[in-house]
């Protein structure tokens, strides 16, 4: 039914929230494992860090940043409506506002993560 029902912006916002939430949870599991390696197997930890710094690793890092940013912004949107229910009338506008902030914050972050791969100048290091 989830794929058959043609919901509006609210349903898409909720679906992205769920998907990004699961992605963040998967990263947290991975993070627990790699932090464990610092003490458990330092050589393997260095290898894992190399994977993170590689091109595919950085793409995943950009996706992680996107998931975190979206989940945080949409979470704030939901919290705002929880506290002020009349704002539910503007839930679409709030969602588009989330996307505006997502792009404004996300693009520079994605640039910064990918810059070393392409030899672009880095502004925040």
């Amino acid at each position: 039914m989830l794929l058959r029902y043609r919901g509006g912006e609210g349903m898409i916002a909720w679906a992205f929230h769920r998907i990004s939430g699961v992605a963040i949870w998967a990263f947290v599991l991975l993070h627990v494992v790699d932090i464990y390696l610092v003490g458990g197997n330092p050589e393997l930890y260095d290898e894992v860090l190399k994977v993170y710094a590689s091109f595919p690793g950085r793409i995943l890092e950009v996706l992680l940043g996107a998931a975190l940013l979206y989940h945080a912004l949409n979470g704030l949107r939901i919290i705002i409506m929880d506290f002020w229910p009349p704002l539910t009338r503007y839930h679409r506008a709030l969602w588009y506002g989330c996307w505006a902030i997502f792009i404004a914050v996300g693009l520079p972050v994605a640039y910064e993560i990918m810059a070393p791969v392409y030899g672009w100048p880095e502004f925040f290091r």
Partner: protein, 232 residues
């Protein structure tokens, strides 16, 4: 013009699973999906089964999944949908036959919130007076026609059938915020349950599906806030 009408049909006594039946129906752009269903039933296949009563958006009998969204067949017109129209029963409820679903569980949840005025005080000589402002507090939720379009559009309900659902919460809201009612606390206790308001995920499908334009999500959040405020 000719409309390609697809109907998800299922007769539990004959069919092993639901199937899409296709009908070519002559229609004008201002005709409604209910008119098309009537034309199929009266002119092509008399076995097609669906509910309808007033046919003017008041009784709420003919809520269906039309082109992927819950709507009333008597309110949605062909020009709003195009020449290819699909009609299926309301999602998440057991199908009795074709477009008819079993609403018993839906109405049981509705009844569970005591959707009527509770006031044990002696009857006044004429009426229980209420200011226009107090009446306006719950005006939006008086419009519910119990069509079930909201509850059956809710992903939380699809996943957890024990969820009381938006329609029951809307009807609780109608009395919780009625200044003449005395059972608000009791209704809030019922809705504070794990299958009450907390299952709402602010998806807005219910609000989008409501044929009466009720801001259902706002009503649910107001009931949630009332539960929290009374507990602090």
């Amino acid at each position: 013009m000719q409309v390609d009408l697809r109907v998800l049909r299922y007769d539990p006594e004959r069919d092993s699973k639901p199937y899409w039946a296709e009908y070519l129906v002559e229609s004008g752009p201002m005709e409604r999906v209910l008119d098309l269903l009537h034309r199929v039933k009266w002119e092509q296949d008399g076995t097609l089964t669906f509910r309808r009563s007033c046919a003017h958006g008041v009784c709420g009998s003919d809520a269906m999944l039309i082109n992927g969204r819950n709507r009333l067949a008597c309110k949605i017109r062909v020009d709003q949908l195009g020449r290819r129209i699909s009609v299926a029963p309301l999602p998440g409820l057991p199908v009795v036959k074709d477009l008819v679903v079993d609403m018993e569980d839906f109405f049981a949840k509705y009844r569970s919130v005591r959707p009527y005025l509770v006031n044990e005080a002696p009857l006044p000589a004429r009426e229980r007076l209420q200011s226009p402002q107090a009446r306006a507090r719950y005006d939006d939720t008086t419009k519910c026609i119990l069509c079930a379009a909201c509850t059956t559009s809710c992903p939380s309900f699809w996943a957890q059938k024990s969820y009381v659902g938006p329609a029951a919460i809307v009807n609780a809201h109608r009395f919780v915020f009625d200044s003449r009612d005395e059972a608000a606390q009791e209704r809030l206790e019922i809705l504070a349950d794990k299958d009450g308001v907390w299952r709402c995920r602010t998806v807005f499908n219910c609000t989008d599906a409501c044929p009466r334009g009720i801001n259902i999500t706002q009503a649910i959040l107001e009931v949630s806030a009332a539960i929290v405020e009374r507990r602090i």
